[in-house]
């Protein structure tokens, strides 16, 4: 009885079985099918042709660029907005609980519903946004129809919807900071801004890292909101990785769309792992 283990390793069998069947196995299978021409019943092995087709596709370049813009911008904006919202919502205000609920509300609505609502609001002639702007004597944009503004309109909507979750994570992080730091700082005469910069910011770093990673990965694989608002259009102006893959699937190119998914998986992994490593290395104890 020299072993120190309290639990037998056999306990991981169920977890490993589930993980193997539902995660590892599909991954291996998809790797295989990404190298075939496949129509669900028959498949023909075609080597790396699918990957070649995918990389020579002009819309993929747009998609990769858009995906990165989308991920970085939504992540950055959510981070900034949610941080200040969280600071505000952890301060001594009376309607704290009500306001916290309101900030979180958009997250409870289905993404598709949000997409449909916002594309109605952003309609160039009948939409509320442009009518209000018109009433103020300003000329509104064709928010979703203009190729240069369409992506940013969707990003705005995504931030509106996603800022609530990030705020909740920040609030949790901020509440776990020991009050004595602030007391000590204010006795030493630190201003609010100094407290924020030197106490709150470094000590809620773990929360911030979660927000960054979650928002970034969420942005990289975004699909539903784009699809509901623009369908990747006009033309290919708001095409992202996931919508490109979906279109190949809808066209019946199952092998090709699987290859697209493999590419997407590798891309997210390549970007997300180093990012997480970097963030964790900067965390303070």
């Amino acid at each position: 009885m020299k072993t120190k283990k309290i639990y037998s390793t056999w306990f991981i069998v169920p977890a490993m079985a589930v993980f193997g069947i539902f995660f590892l196995l599909p991954m291996v299978i998809s790797l295989f099918f990404s190298m075939t021409v496949w129509d669900f019943t028959n498949f023909r092995f075609c080597g790396l042709d699918n990957f070649k087709t995918f990389f020579s596709d002009s819309s993929l370049n747009i998609a990769i660029k858009n995906t990165l813009i989308y991920a970085v911008l939504t992540c950055g904006l959510k981070l900034i907005f949610s941080f200040f919202l969280a600071v505000f919502l952890t301060s001594k205000i009376r309607t704290k609980n009500l306001l916290r609920s309101i900030v979180f509300f958009p997250n409870l609505i289905s993404t598709i519903a949000v997409g449909i609502t916002f594309s109605a609001l952003m309609h160039p002639t009948k939409g509320l946004i442009n009518q209000v702007l018109g009433g103020l004597g300003l000329k509104g944009l064709d928010w979703l129809g203009n190729t240069s503004s369409a992506l940013y309109s969707v990003i705005f909507t995504d931030v509106w919807k996603g800022v609530g979750v990030a705020t909740v994570i920040f609030i949790a992080g901020m509440q776990s900071i020991d009050k004595s730091y602030y007391e000590a700082a204010s006795i030493d005469g630190a201003t609010g801004w100094q407290q924020l910069k030197n106490i709150t910011l470094p000590l809620c770093r773990p929360a911030m890292n979660s927000v960054i990673i979650l928002a970034f990965i969420g942005g990289m694989r975004t699909f539903d909101l784009i699809w509901a608002m623009t369908g990747g259009g006009p033309g290919y102006a708001t095409e992202v990785m996931a919508s490109t893959v979906y279109k190949q699937y809808a066209a019946g190119f199952y092998g090709l769309s699987t290859a697209g998914n493999v590419i997407m998986f590798v891309m997210i992994a390549i970007l997300a792992f180093p990012l997480q490593k970097f963030l964790l290395s900067r965390e303070v104890d």
């Binding site: 009885m1 639990y7 037998s8 056999w10 306990f11 069998v13 169920p14 079985a17 021409v37 129509d39 669900f40 019943t41 023909r44 075609c46 042709d49 087709t53 020579s56 596709d57 002009s58 819309s59 594309s119 309609h123 160039p124 002639t125 009948k126 064709d142 979703l144 129809g145 203009n146 190729t147 369908g231 990747g232 259009g233 006009p234 033309g235 290919y236 102006a237 095409e239 279109k247 190949q248 699937y249 809808a250 066209a251 019946g252 190119f253 090709l256």
Partner: protein, 439 residues
Amino acid sequence: MKKKKVLSVLLAAVMTVGLAAGCSSNGGDGSDGGGDSGTSAKDKELSILIDTDTSIAGFEAVAALAEEKLGIKITVETRPGGSDGDNVVKTRLASGDMADLCLYNSGALLNALNPAEYFIDISDENFVAGLDDTYKSAVTVDGKVYGIPLGSTQAGGVLYSKDMYEKYNLEVPKTWDEFIANCDVLKKAGETAILGTFADSWTSQVAFLGDNYNLMAAEPNFIADLEAGEAKFTTTASALRSFEKLADTTNYYNEDYLATTYDDGCDIMANGEAGHWFMLTQALSNVYELYGDEAVNKIGVFAVPGDDAGDNGLTVWMPSSIYGNANSDKDDLIKEFMEFYVSDEALDAYTSAILPDGPYCIKDYELPDDAYEAVATEMQAYFDAGKTEVAMEFLTSVKGADCPSICQELGSGQTNAEEAAKKYDDDCAKQAAQLGLDW
């Protein structure tokens, strides 16, 4: 120690079994429920999956008659149109969850569904003999017939406002240049010269696809060469011309054309607020359902003009078809309904509910006297003169799947005709690889 090991394995087993039991009992409940409802409705019930863009008043009339005469009750399930709809169909077919009957495109898109696997082969049924040959070839895959037409054929051309043509003293154009000249007149007068409904991206393809008559007239061997991988849209002048025409339209659209939907478009045409609309004549039925006789007869139709004033021809679309689900256990009932659906009696019922958008695909069944003017006079003239050609998707299985996006991009001025043709060629190459063509 031994005990612990045994215990943990036992626990694991219990959990796994529990999981499996959970799944199976759910499945069991589901199938039991389905079985019950099936038997309680006396088994004379068929379901059909239809997209929401199709006007189904005619189908409903036939279904009502079928219930009365055959005692078959039809329940309609709906799905979206466009590529989302394709996805629903493909997913439901692949997962064995398709309704008894399925409404879907004929031609190239049917081929992509792998019909031999999923649909009932009706080649040997008597009623198939009555189908028009061109139509039949559009629902035949590898020598087997699968579908019956939902309604009439339709044309893809230019719908125009007769009131506006009268007001500005315009004539139906015979060439593309005349058409553009007409658009200039309307634009100068502050009217919407061409209605764009690009929010539904499929609508942006009509100007390109509807030009097929002109392409086929100029290049009769194009299809064979395309399938052989020799002809390309980029290098064939008249094929590139189709894209150039779409590019020409960019300047004439309504201001909010990228946010206007097909449904909006029907309203706008019915109210005479736009001069032209590149559209399938199915829109006539939508307008008729919404606004009635008077509105629909203010809309005329002409073919996408070519460059030769002497040779004007119309590109025709075969109707969507009704297919029987091969995995349904109601084979005989499905065939009975199909036979009924193409009978004269059913066609009369269909026609009394909704007027046709073009000639029917049933041999010897004439257009009704009260057909829309655009169909009865303008479209019929092309048919009488033999100046029609079916759209490319009924001639070959090579159809670029991303055509809507490519056309939407071109029509909104983001690319030029050459770039669009190049993209479409690449897109066709993907389809060719899927079909196993050697390019």
